[in-house]
């Protein structure tokens, strides 16, 4: 993973983790995009030989520790979403950025629903529609992050 400037991948993932726990006002916090999912999906599409389901699981586990949720909840949801990307990466790569954004939206929705379902299974949380607000911001953010991360990948020649 660390050959050909692979540490940059880890660095972007760390920044995504920090962005997903940085304190925000409550009204903005509801719309916080899934930074970690976006970055993982990008690297998974670009370099599926480096980022796979197991990497995604470990990053999800870190997110679990950072968020204080039951260990394994976010890890499981993240691994499931990345699995879909890994299996279909050839097709998703050939879509335009906007089509990719919609697919990322579906992945984010699936991620949140899996997390909700597991939480529902563990404690009596009730579904509120604002649990799915991040999906919208994630879709909007994807094209920008796609171009940014592509520049990063080309600049550091990550293979």
């Amino acid at each position: 993973m660390f050959r050909h400037n692979g540490f940059v991948i880890l660095f972007t993932l760390l920044i995504a983790l920090i962005a997903s726990i940085a304190p925000m006002p409550l009204s903005v916090d509801v719309f916080r995009p899934d930074w970690v999912l976006i970055v993982l999906v990008y690297w998974c599409l670009a370099l599926p030989n480096k980022i796979n389901v197991i990497t995604a699981w470990f990053i999800g586990l870190t997110l679990d520790i950072l968020l204080g949720s039951v260990l394994g909840v976010h890890a499981c949801a993240m691994a499931l979403s990345i699995y879909i990307v890994v299996v279909n990466f050839q097709q998703i790569r050939n879509f335009s950025v906007w089509q990719q954004a919609l697919i990322v939206g579906v992945l984010a929705a699936q991620y949140h629903l899996v997390v909700f379902w597991l939480q529902r299974f563990l404690s009596d949380v009730v579904f509120l529609p604002n649990y799915l607000y991040p999906v919208v911001t994630t879709v909007v953010l994807w094209p920008w992050m796609f171009f940014l991360l592509r520049r990063v990948r080309r600049h550091f020649r990550i293979k």
Partner: protein, 296 residues
């Protein structure tokens, strides 16, 4: 990259592997609670990330604190001095009352209340996870924090310590869905239970009969029955009471007194569990600081 011939195990096998791992983790973490110590280590392992994530906010508050005008500072100083005088007077009065109370309790042969040690803490980060209401504070096992310790702010009860790391720990807030506090109505001593609802500004009181004497605006204080929270700290104020004839119990909601969504500084209480009635500990220094101030 060489994607033509994949080596190693297939994605599906990897997925099954990690799903089994997460299933095991969820089971052991949630059902058996056997990861408490491991969680402490993991928490201290990731606390650098939390400190980094907190720096933008720290810079902002530092900036705004430095941009205050001299005039504002002077007025604030005056106000604080006035408040200090006021509180000082109250402490003196409280000290007399406390001694009198202890003497009376000794006469009645009931146990004297122990002194509570207080540790000052500052909020480090708020969780973005919408399913649980937790905050991270900048005190950990190195500062003597233990699991289950009650946390209050200047207005009322905030929650209790959930996980302890070396330098940071997690506070489970009052209105989290998994949290409940035994309380009583301050006006008449009626006992209730305040359960969290998952919404920041709402607590729910289940199984209160319609004939019970609870009114809107009643202050609820901790009853000290669970053994976790010391007695008498304000918890919440009743906001709505609905008595629906078709329901068996009244639906009572209350709002936490502490501003849980605007927390900054908190106090961690530790109850000395010395139950034997000691003789009156005569305090010479009335102004002894019981609050251990941190570096800040």
């Amino acid at each position: 990259m060489n994607p033509i011939f994949n080596q190693g195990i297939s994605p599906a096998q990897r997925l099954i592997l990690v799903l089994i791992c997460s299933g095991a983790l969820i089971f052991f973490d949630h059902k058996m609670a056997s990861f408490e110590t491991a969680r402490g280590y993991l928490q201290s392992l990731v606390s650098p990330l939390q400190y980094i994530a907190n720096t933008p906010k720290l810079l902002m508050t530092w900036g705004s604190a430095n941009l205050i005008t001299r005039q504002q500072l002077m007025t604030e100083n005056d106000q604080l001095r006035e408040q200090q005088l006021f509180f000082h007077e109250q402490t003196m009065e409280l000290d007399i009352v406390r001694r009198e109370n202890q003497r009376l309790r000794l006469l009645l042969a009931s146990p004297v209340r122990g002194e509570t040690k207080k540790v000052f803490a500052e909020i480090l980060s708020v969780d973005s996870d919408p399913y649980s209401l937790q905050v991270v504070i900048n005190r950990g096992a190195n500062d003597g924090v233990v699991e289950g310790q009650p946390v209050i702010d200047e207005k009322g009860v905030v929650g209790q310590i959930l996980h302890v790391g070396a330098n940071s720990s997690r506070v489970l807030l009052l209105s989290d869905i998994t949290h409940a506090v035994p309380v009583r109505v301050k006006r008449n001593g009626l006992r209730l239970i305040a359960s969290g609802s998952g919404m920041v500004d709402r607590l729910v009181h289940n199984f209160v009969t319609k004939s019970d004497d609870v009114k809107e605006g009643d202050l609820l204080v901790t009853s000290g029955l669970g053994g976790k929270y010391p007695e008498g700290y304000p918890v919440s104020r009743v906001t709505s009471i609905r008595t629906d004839e078709s329901r068996e119990f009244a639906r009572i909601y209350s709002q936490p007194v502490a501003e849980i969504d605007r927390l900054r500084y908190m106090l961690l209480l530790s109850i000395n569990s010395q139950s034997k009635p000691t003789l009156l500990p005569v305090q010479q220094d009335t102004n002894k600081k019981k609050i251990q101030l941190g570096e800040h």
